[in-house]
Subunit: 354 residues, 2 copies
């Protein structure tokens, strides 16, 4: 398969009739070389099919021009807008993005940080639950994202106020007249914060919510319980045990999808027989099928700010360490069709059959 040796920068230089140094400058986008030189190099690159060897460039330069993102599980839909936000900042700067998740390297028993540090990224954005704060690298700028528990000493933090989001959800359901309210809970730190704000607000309005889930013992690397499947099962149980519940708040949109499935399964139409509110405003929430009222967790903004912050740190000269910054974004209510004003006389068993 291999056709001998691959062309190197030396071959390009020979083909273009210029020096190796010039080729390197042109390839790195250095403003020095003349237009004629650029053209000659570009032509030679195309002619001999040269592809730069990133490994060599990284080794020689001592940096990668790459920001690493440590995520829990790629499949979480909120990573889509989050990473879009990051890229919108890093892209124009010519900085690459490398992601590492817990999931992808299970077999290698390697943490996302080991992975990222072996890649020699120049900065890290952590958007994951930390099993332990111990192995977070100290010799690279680290930005923490999300209302996670353990603050990393010296790290900048960008969070969304998840408790506040829980309050917004409670306020909305109260505002449209609901009094029998359920919550489909999750066990991770974010889900707990959302629940906390939600319960607090309801209680101060004299309403005691019915809670399902969120009782997982929090073990390192444990299976996440904020899934569609779990949202479905918890909702089925909650609605069976408490058929008088008229509104449900799910810890995230994924669980809300499960709640909508449960409503459908039970013949309760949404929002007529049951209001459902989620959290995240993930891409699925806006679909016609879900049309989900939810709390916008500002993921794209979160990504943008995290990227700007980590770039700022990367540009810092060694020694000029500023104190850690903390930013906290306000979540927002996004009203769609899955919540509605409580009807005067609800028919808990739902649909009146023809």
């Amino acid at each position: 398969m291999s056709t001998g040796k691959r062309p190197t920068i030396l071959d390009v230089a020979a083909a273009a009739g210029v020096s190796k140094s010039l080729v390197s400058m042109v390839l790195r986008g250095d403003p020095g070389p003349s237009a004629a030189s650029r053209a000659a190099v570009a032509e030679a690159v195309a002619a001999i099919g040269y592809r730069p060897n990133r490994a060599a460039a990284i080794l020689a330069a001592g940096r990668t021009n790459t920001v690493g993102i440590a995520v829990d599980d790629y499949r979480n839909l909120w990573y889509v807008p989050f990473i879009r936000g990051i890229r919108s900042v890093l892209g124009p700067l010519g900085i690459r993005v490398a992601t590492a998740d817990n999931y992808s390297n299970e077999h290698l028993a390697v943490s996302p940080f080991d992975e990222l540090m072996s890649l020699r990224v120049d900065g890290i954005i952590i958007a994951a639950e930390l099993p332990t704060t111990a192995d977070v690298p100290a010799d690279v700028p680290v930005v923490m994202v999300g209302s996670r528990a353990g603050a990393i000493p010296g790290a900048d933090t960008i969070t969304v106020d998840d408790e506040r989001g829980g309050e917004l959800a409670a306020d909305h359901l109260l505002a449209v007249g609901h009094l029998r309210i359920g919550h489909i809970a999750g066990s991770d730190a974010i889900a707990r914060a959302r629940r906390l704000g939600f319960e607090r607000r309801l209680r101060s309005a004299g309403v005691t919510p019915v809670i399902a889930g969120g009782t997982h013992v929090q073990t390192t690397g444990g299976t996440p319980d904020t899934t569609e499947r779990n949202g479905f099962e918890l909702s089925m149980r909650l609605l069976a045990e408490h058929p008088d519940v008229t509104a449900v708040f799910a810890a995230n949109d994924t669980m809300a999808m499960g709640a909508l499935g449960a409503a459908k399964r039970l013949g309760r139409s949404v929002p007529a027989d049951l209001s459902v509110i989620g959290f995240d405003d993930s891409p699925v929430a806006a679909t016609a099928l879900m049309d989900l009222t939810t709390i916008d967790a500002r993921y794209e903004d979160l990504g943008r700010i995290a990227a700007r912050t980590v770039v700022g740190r990367m540009e810092d000269r060694v020694g000029t360490s500023r104190p850690p910054t903390v930013a906290r974004l306000e979540p927002r209510l996004v009203e769609r069709a899955s919540t509605a004003r409580l009807r005067a006389n609800p028919s808990p068993r739902g649909r009146t059959s023809p």
Copy 2:
């Protein structure tokens, strides 16, 4: 931020009181070194916080032990089982996976292949529409996945029989009695193959389907039209213009989600007033909310076979080139609740209001 120089293999050797060569052997998992040596090295690594420099290792070894996957757009849900299949094979072999998509490097104007080749991957699995077959690297084993148009000379190909899948969808709808049938089409090669099999089978049963969509001029890098949004809009139009249609086949599960949303919006309950069948058996299809009858496109198997094939090629000695292999998997019908037997006298306007 940086605490001087990072430890290298030399520091590990010094700390462990062994030679640099021994450290390298231990780190690479060479079976040579004694258990005592291994322990000493492991201890030294932990003590000084050593992290291997992948760039240096790659440069020196001349290979990466990595397989690259070129994908269209990460957000396609079928990549989840597909990559899971690939990892199930590559993981135990200690081979890494690197993905590159069209989307992530738009700003750098770099193709997934350039990206992957600059990373010096040892093999490539292509699971994307090819803008052009021209820039596919020739000096690395390439495996094509999916019923894409242009075969790459010399490349192994693993496909799912998409036309056959279209036939299965048609057979199912005919078997449960539908005669007025719509299709929500896409424009890419896969979607066209599915439509082809579907239409052929219906026509040979004397049924002429109503088609919506699939008319995009196929431009390189054009926006994909197999989206939820497009599935919704095409379905709204189709069902408005042809209210007598009782069953709809969507080119994939994502478009089917849009079709389900349209049915909901129009007050047609599924499957009582409208049957919907998708294609892919992506993770969403199994949710209670969608409960979608679909065609299993065997993505996990596809990933497994593609991985085995590319590994086989990577192990080939230069010169012993075997002829290209072609594998074709059979899709399977997965029956869920979104399709049902046509009722004797359907009420096209759906729900009887209370």
